[in-house]
């Protein structure tokens, strides 16, 4: 890794942190509606993995997706605009926080139904195998809570039976909403579930982005070469609640404080300084630039227009199809663009 790569990696993590913090504020001001699931504390995972994936590798995740959207390469402007529901959002304001995607960056969302994207991930890998894209790997993230739902079982089983190149990444932040793993899962380590499918598996720490890069590179190449699935359990932690409005009765402040001491951004910063790759001042500069980028993104999002009323009826179908308007006459054609 070059110095500039370190600085980029660092800045990326800071941008994600800032975007999440600003989103929280905007949410409290009522400008972001619905659900908001913050990624604060887990930045090492998304930045670590996306920084070692190849362009042909597909990324798909659940609803805590802002970090993934940003690290996959979506401009913070478009992420912010999506959060505010504006037409310049990456999903044109139609998806919101939980449904960000950019197929050109090989980022396939942003999914809200717990575990539903898991069989879909298996399907994407199937698509690659079918079409001879032999060196593509589908990287699918989900929380530890999702490993108890039927979709998880069906998806993982299928990936093993059909020998599909999927890297199953469990972002284990210990709490599925407010329920700890111990209370929800039959086994204490998620990776043990992969044993049930005869699937190779690993468990790694998730707060150090450099460690993640190392481990994930190794595993990714294995999947790429062998072609079959692999489950990677990543131990991480979210500093904020499950989503905005979470009273967090399920954990105490001391625990949160303890994890904050291993803040992934702090860890990388220390590492960079220790290895003398860059100076404090240079890192501060990255901080400031990140701040500027996020400020601009918020400004852009706030001044971006709302989608036109007609957008309500767009992209329901690809084929031009008359759309019912309130059950009366067919007035609108779906444009399919």
């Amino acid at each position: 890794m070059e110095k500039k790569d370190y600085l980029e990696l660092y800045q990326e993590m800071v941008i994600i942190r800032l975007v999440e913090e600003r989103s929280a504020e905007l949410y409290q001001q009522g400008k972001i509606g619905g659900f908001l699931h913050l990624y604060i504390g887990q930045e090492a995972v998304c930045c670590g993995i996306t920084s070692v994936r190849q362009p042909q590798d597909r990324i798909i995740t659940a609803y805590r997706d802002h970090g993934w959207a940003l690290s996959a390469g979506i401009d913070p402007k478009n992420v912010m605009a999506e959060l505010l529901g504006k037409q310049d959002g990456c999903s044109k304001g139609k998806g919101g926080s939980m449904h960000m995607a950019d197929t050109e960056k090989n980022f396939w969302g942003g999914h809200a139904i717990v575990g539903a994207h898991i069989p879909i991930a298996a399907g994407m890998a199937l698509g690659d195998v079918y079409q001879g894209n032999d060196d593509a790997v589908t990287i699918c993230m989900f929380g530890e809570g999702a490993t108890n739902i039927g979709f998880f079982h069906e998806g993982l089983n299928l990936s093993k039976v059909w020998h599909l190149p999927v890297l199953w990444v469990c972002e284990n932040n210990i709490y599925g909403m407010g329920t700890t793993m111990e209370r929800a899962s039959a086994v204490s380590e998620i990776r043990q579930k992969a044993e049930g499918y005869g699937m190779p598996n690993d468990r790694i720490e998730g707060m150090d982005v450099m460690k993640i890069r190392e481990e994930v590179s190794r595993v990714l190449e294995k999947v790429r070469k062998d072609g079959g699935p692999h489950l990677l359990e990543v131990m991480t932690y979210r500093y904020r609640g499950h989503s905005m409005g979470d009273p967090e009765r399920y954990r105490d402040k001391e625990e949160v404080k303890k994890w904050e001491e291993v803040d992934p951004i702090g860890i990388l910063r220390k590492h960079i300084l220790h290895e003398e790759v860059a100076t404090e001042a240079e890192l501060d500069e990255q901080d400031q630039e990140a701040e500027r980028i996020v400020d601009e993104a918020v400004e852009f999002a706030e001044s971006s227009p709302n989608p036109a009323n007609e957008a309500l009826f767009e992209n329901i179908y690809v084929e031009p199809t008359p759309i019912e308007y309130r059950g009366y006459a067919m007035e609108h054609e779906s444009e399919g663009r």
């Binding site: 069989p119 879909i120 399907g123 698509g127 329901i316 690809v318 059950g327």
Partner: protein, 326 residues
Amino acid sequence: MSRMTMREAVSKALWEEMERDEKVFIQGEEVGIWGGTYAVTKGFYDHFGEKRVRDTPIAEAAIVGSAIGAALTGLRPIAELMTINFAFVAMDHIVNEAAKLHYMFGGQFKLPLVIRAVSGGGRQLGATHSQTPDAIFAHFPGLKVVSPGTPADAKGLLKSAIRIDDPVLFIENATLYQTKGEVPDDKDYLEPIGKSKVQREGDDVTIVAYSKMVPAALEAADMLAEDGIEAEVVDLRSLRPLDMEPIIKSFKRTNRAVVAEEGWRSYGVGSEVSARIYELAFDYVDAPVKRVAQAEVPLPYNAELEQLALPQTEDIYHAAKEVIYG
């Protein structure tokens, strides 16, 4: 033109589309080596190979879910659900994912997949294997729901479903598989999705039907003709989008209608069609629209009881007589 059964028509459509486009493939339970539990894909495995005719584990959510994923990479999968009763296991993927992914991500995701399923009862398979929940799936915008009533439509509509870029739930009927009809040989014979079709013309009463109720409606129309009553039979063919135009055009002439479906009356297809008739042609109504449907009971195993519950040709005949006041 060739005369063939609906099963053959479906099979032909699948075969021809698989030959035409490498991206089309079939996956489902027992579709490969077994040849399909209704023999629709018999011979496919040997000809097309295991990559394109894929036997899956018994895992409907994965069958539909992975089809969705494959569609996202540019393929055109045909996911087969052995019966529509098993679709409930994959409900999320059918109505939450397939129907909505294109919309939620601002049009970035294309889902050109077809989900084929067999609907209907009457074969003593017990309550959980005999349902006709078609209307439930037609409820969701973003999905297209198609159900042919004739072999020709089966071929033409299935080909269209495979070729368009929208997700289609293609509902077949096991009892209809053996009905015969004239089917065009043309490999590019397509029928439009979202268009109803007049299967029989008449000026005295409008009978709206789809799937298994189409042959029943045509039989009832013959019975009515002996009474001097000429019925117009309109075949919906697609439940979503729902094409009311031929129905309203007919209704304005006949002023009375019967809607026949195999599913239950409450919240069913008939509810939707009659509501729209009242909205679009209120001043032409001479009698309330009559809905012929299944009795509001789970279907029992015993053969006579089962037939008692299911809508028959006679029911359509009597309903038509009622709305004619004759």
